[in-house]
């Protein structure tokens, strides 16, 4: 169990660094989602399932969806603009 915990915490650090070091916003957003999921598993291991459910639903789900929509709104997703012009 302790090995799993250490591995999860290491992945957490890797994800946190990855979010801030990635240049592509979409990629960093997906890494952020992974961060939230790992965090949910860690909450589960720390015996707080309430927080785990909330983290999975709000952190990995809703927040990321809102971030995606914001990126689309500011045309930060690559290829989005070309796609839009092709539609017109």
């Amino acid at each position: 169990m302790s090995f799993v915990k250490i591995a999860l915490l290491g992945m957490l650090i890797v994800c946190a660094l990855g979010v801030s070091l990635t240049r592509n916003l979409l990629t960093s957003l997906i890494i952020y989602m992974a961060y939230s999921l790992i965090m949910a598993v860690i909450w589960m291991l720390l015996e707080s399932p309430d927080l785990a459910i909330t983290e999975a639903a709000v952190g990995a789900g809703i927040t990321s969806v809102l971030f995606f929509v914001t990126l689309k709104k500011i045309h930060a997703i690559k290829g989005d603009r070309d796609h839009e012009q092709a539609q017109k």
């Binding site: 309430d50 459910i53 639903a57 709000v58 809703i62």
Partner: protein, 338 residues
């Protein structure tokens, strides 16, 4: 009179006063003497104006040239050595800020007591009371739900209100009103700043998976909502799951179909009634049930679905507010309305 004054101006006290006053120099002396002594001949007003105009244009040109010079120098500096210096400065400042932040956070952590020990300040009589008497007093098997929605229900009301206010603020900022005849709004609509023109949707894979997944997600959200006092879950998580199911449906089938059951009116009424019910119910139990008084709300058998007094209805109210808020956030970001 004038002689005495000019005499006085040369004396040490006057010189000291002059020195004290900043900007009192040779020019002021000149002005004073010019005012004090009448000119030999009356100056011509037109000639003076002409003189002034000439001086003015000259000065203007000179200032323009100076500006251009300074601008040129600044531009060159900013594009060569300045850019490097500024970049280095920014990196330095960022490193400094990060290092100081890390230092202060670690310093704070170093002062905290070790996790999970008996002597930590969080292990006090409050937590003992929650654990020992929580089931008896709130009727909720899930102690967390008992804390959030019974002992600390006022905080939860504030959180739900914050969410509702945030939704209202986003509504004010992002709403696109199709009936608005104002020029900026019409321009926004013409630019296609909303996603209305992607409709209707014909994505087979998305629609197929949404057909299967949406009912399951909604059912799970309702389960989490209704089971908040018996197991992990509760208002916030259940509401978030509900809204994610709604958003999936919206993405798969478009705004027209989603608009049939979720309109702006419904959002307002559901939020209003949920928050109002929460406020009224909690006010009742605060006034009637505090300090060991009997509020008259049956707690029921612990473990049954209809138990633990007000916790389940409050969970449902919070969940509805959260679901509506998240859904309307998404809809406003996508197309500026429901």
């Amino acid at each position: 009179m004038s002689k005495r004054r000019s005499d006085w101006a040369q004396r040490p006290q006057a010189r000291f006063l002059r020195w004290m006053r900043e900007g009192y120099g040779a020019l002021d002396d000149e002005i004073i003497s010019a005012v004090a002594q009448p000119a030999a001949q009356r100056p011509d007003a037109e000639a003076l104006e002409e003189h002034d105009r000439l001086i003015g244009t000259h000065r203007h040109e000179r200032e323009m040239a100076l500006d251009r010079l300074a601008n040129y120098d600044l531009q060159r500096w900013a594009n060569t050595r300045g850019r490097k210096a500024l970049t280095r400065l920014y990196v330095l400042l960022a490193l400094l800020l990060g290092a100081s932040l890390i230092y202060f956070l670690l310093d704070t952590v170093a002062y905290m007591p070790r996790f999970g020990q008996v002597a930590v300040p969080t292990n006090n009589e409050v937590i003992a009371r929650y654990i020992e008497k929580g089931l008896e007093e709130t009727g909720a098997i899930n102690i967390v739900a008992g804390m959030i929605l019974d002992y600390r229900a006022f905080d939860t009301l504030g959180e739900s209100t914050v969410l509702f206010v945030a939704a209202c603020a986003v509504l004010i900022l992002l709403r696109i009103d199709l009936d608005d005849q104002g020029q900026p709004m019409q321009q926004l609509i013409a630019e296609g700043s909303d996603d209305r023109h992607y409709e209707p949707k014909n994505d087979r894979i998305l629609q197929g998976s949404a057909m299967v997944l949406t009912p399951i997600i909604l059912l799970f959200g309702i389960y989490v909502l209704f089971n908040g006092h018996l197991g992990p879950g509760g208002g916030f998580s259940g509401g978030a799951i509900l809204s994610s199911g709604l958003i999936l449906y919206l993405n798969a089938f478009g705004f027209q179909k989603a608009g049939r059951f979720f309109t702006y009116k419904i959002f307002m009424w559901v939020s209003f009634f949920s928050l109002g019910f929460y406020g009224v119910a909690k006010a009742y139990s605060f006034y009637m049930g505090a300090n060991g008084l009997n509020s008259g709300i049956p707690l029921g058998t612990p473990g049954a679905i209809l138990s633990s007094g007000l916790i389940m209805p409050l969970n449902i109210a919070v969940g509805l507010v959260v679901a509506c808020t998240m859904y309307i956030f998404y809809a406003l970001f996508r197309k500026g309305g429901l």
